[in-house]
Amino acid sequence: MTYAIETHQITKVFGDTVANDRIDLQVIEGHIHAVLGENGAGKTTLMKILFGEEQPTSGKIQIRGKTVKISSPAEALRLSIGFIHQNFTLVNEFTIGQNFALGIEPRKNLFFADYDKVNQKVQKILDLLDMPLKLDVPVGSFSVEERQIVEIGKALYRGAEILILDEPTSVLTPQKIEKLLEILRKLRDEGKTIIMITHKLEEAFSIADEISVLRKGNLVATLPRASVTKDQLIRLMVGDEPLSVVEKAPHQFGAALLEVKNLCVRSGGRDLVKNVSFEVHRGEIFGLTGVGGNGQGELIEALVGMRPASEGDILFDGTSVVKWDIRKRRLNGMAYVPENRVTRGTAVSLSVLDNLVMGHHYLPDFHQGLVLKQEKMESFALDIIKQYEVVASSLEINAGSLSGGNLQKLVIGREFSMNTPFLIVAYPSQGIDIRTTKYVQSELIRRRDSGCAILLVSGDLDEIFSLSDRIGVMYSGELVAITTPESTNRFELGQYMVGSRRNGQ
């Protein structure tokens, strides 16, 4: 039994974060190997290293027993490794053959390429994949699943023996997933080695020969599928420790402040949020969790007003706000700490002051007609900096010069200080030190105690568990569970997160 790929003590460090910690992965040749893990477990980093898009900080890689250095994607291709990205590398105006052969066209003469030759090879590959697609139409006219197969075909055309797929089923509708899995099985039977990154347990279970579980940068286990149960895998993915609990008083729910009714968000033909309904009450922290990319982002955007809702209603204190613009929602008592503090939460080329003032500058206290009350804003900004311990030498420096953690504190400080009855907080502790995290969390509790309604979105189960009064789990655009910390545990949450279970089962 040979190993197609072996990694020895692969470690990748980004600044302070250890994305991959001494990973020894072994992928048997001719097998399908699934890599499971939550967000941030390090799966994508590891695959990027295997495909030459990242270089390991230390460790070595062996392909079929030979030690290699994968310095670039071109090098990976030369080593017969093909990577199927989530964003396809296809040119929509080109035919299949034109896409496959881009850059390596066989020449008929100086000026022209021999596409007959190309198409012969294409047809062979399509036959192998059992996909009857037309050779003379632009790939943009194909459906998403067809284009994904084309992307796989492209790797095969260029000689890939090892295929790495990154969350391939995330763009597919449930019906099409089975077709993809069939194709992967077929390729395996043809002798290809397949590595599939996924967080969906069912798929990994149905297709893999071996399953590796990554957790917090570590390779926790590699097991043959035949000898492991789904429950065991979930435990490996989310861990076994009891979830920590932050001290908080048992609380009284107030009235429902936010009501979401049958909310649907559609884009590009896909259902990103499917029929989601829930409520957040005054004096409650509702913790929404799930693996990233399962609709949480789009749901928040619809609540805030940055994305239109396709269907359904959003009620704020009984009033429908689904047609309101962002400013109106904010003026009526909503604040939002976004997941991406750099692209959305701040403008890094502007000053710290400019960043702190956003959203406040149209509040009555801070302006007189058009004129901004400069001194009031400055003292307000200084207060925030002090209170939230943002390390910034002055209000005038560029926000971009602040460290990630300080930037996050800035955003949190700005939004929290709006003292709104409703607060959406997405991934608040990402990239912050422990002390600040504790401070932020205690702030959240304090607001909740004083009657705020808080929607907390996070992938950190500890955080969700300890802060939330109620917990919701999103999977594939749906709210598959609403529960409470008292009545659930890490394992059960894991089940919900990987689609293994839904409320009522």
Binding site: R344, L370, Q374
Partner: protein
């Protein structure tokens, strides 16, 4: 923050790389002329004399500077909000024409009112001319670089028609309107020069723009829009409205420039009023990073440069067009200065 502190801070922050790049470009200019046969000492003397040798010359330089400042602001304000306004020339022309109409045909008003009305008309004309590209940009995402430039040519043609036919000064062989009424004229400040009391209007406008930029929510929202429009939207800024507004104001400023030329310098509307200064304004806005104070400084430099070429030509036989070459070199260097300096430091570090 107090205005003086703000001025100081702007100059300081942008200061070093900016000034050194302009200095570099000027040095290049001296080098070019030296290669061509003119010693730097002579160049400096010739340049200096054409601006500072007499009040008349100095006044002309200031007059030119006023126009440059206004058209630069006309490009800078929309630019702050992320919108390209290359239509300064056309907006200037329309503004000039509108103000000429009020100046020529409205009678019976005391000077203050007449001038005030003419100024308003001029700003309205410029704003109107900017509103069209602004509208198609917002509604249809039409590329405003192309549309504003097209509007420039259209303005030239429209005013060309108006001034050759219906509104031509009776008995005149030239394409121009009649002289504006006495009550609409902005009097000269220095005899025989181009500099008029329009200076005060421009100063007031400049202060107003600085005020808008630093102290109002408009200025703030434009700044944010231009920096990160997703952040602006997230924070509740009404992006489409603010972008449109910025274009209107830009157009009004260019229209004001035209108005001052008509009421102050020429006392009538003539074709090619601005002489293509609109493009220079765009470039100044780019290199001054849309900051009013820096625009003031760069406008002064460019005005002195333009003026100097007269002296350079008279004494050293260097064509006046050299200034636009030098201006372009300055601009190219300043635009890429961060990359240039980064490249230089990299080279130095490698040693």
């Amino acid at each position: 923050m107090k205005a003086t502190n703000k001025i100081r801070r702007t100059i300081f922050q942008q200061g070093l790389s900016f000034i050194s790049t302009i200095a570099l470009a000027l040095l290049l200019g001296f080098a070019m002329l030296w290669l061509n046969g003119s010693a730097p000492k002579d160049v400096l003397a010739a340049a200096g004399s054409s601006t500072f040798a007499s009040p008349f010359r100095f006044a002309n330089m200031i007059s030119r500077m006023l126009t440059i400042v206004l058209v630069s602001l006309a490009a800078a304000i929309p630019f702050k909000a992320g919108v390209w306004n290359i239509g300064g020339d056309g907006q200037l022309a329309m503004g000039g024409f509108f103000s000429a109409m009020v100046g020529v045909y409205v009678t019976g008003l005391p000077p203050v009112l007449h001038i005030g009305l003419a100024v308003l008309a001029g700003m309205a004309g410029g704003a109107l001319w900017a509103a069209i590209p602004a509208y198609v940009r917002l509604k249809f995402k039409a590329n405003e670089i192309v549309t504003t430039i097209m509007m420039n040519y259209l303005a030239a043609l429209v005013t060309g028609y108006l001034v050759n036919y219906p509104f031509r000064a009776p008995g005149s062989a030239n394409a121009e309107t009649s002289l504006v009424q006495e009550s609409a004229i902005l009097s000269q400040m220095v005899p025989l020069s181009n500099l008029s009391t329009g200076l005060y209007i421009v100063i007031a406008t400049f202060i107003l723009i600085c005020f808008l930029d630093w102290k109002t929510s408009w200025g703030y929202e434009w700044r944010v829009l231009g920096s990160n429009d997703e952040f602006a939207r997230y924070g509740g800024v009404k992006d489409n409205r603010m972008r449109f507004l910025s274009m209107l104001i830009g157009g009004a400023l260019a229209g004001l420039a035209g108005t001052i030329l008509v009421l102050g310098s020429y006392h009538k509307f003539i074709l090619n009023l601005g002489g293509g200064i609109g493009f220079t304004g765009v470039l100044i806005a780019i290199i001054a990073a849309n900051s009013p104070i820096l625009i003031l400084i760069v406008s002064a430099i460019f005005a002195i440069l333009s003026n100097s070429t007269v002296g350079l030509e008279a004494r050293l036989g260097i064509a006046t067009e050299f200034s636009s070459i030098l201006q372009s070199v300055i601009i190219l260097l300043v635009i890429t200065r961060s990359n240039i300096w980064a490249g230089i430091t990299k080279l130095v570090k490698r040693r």
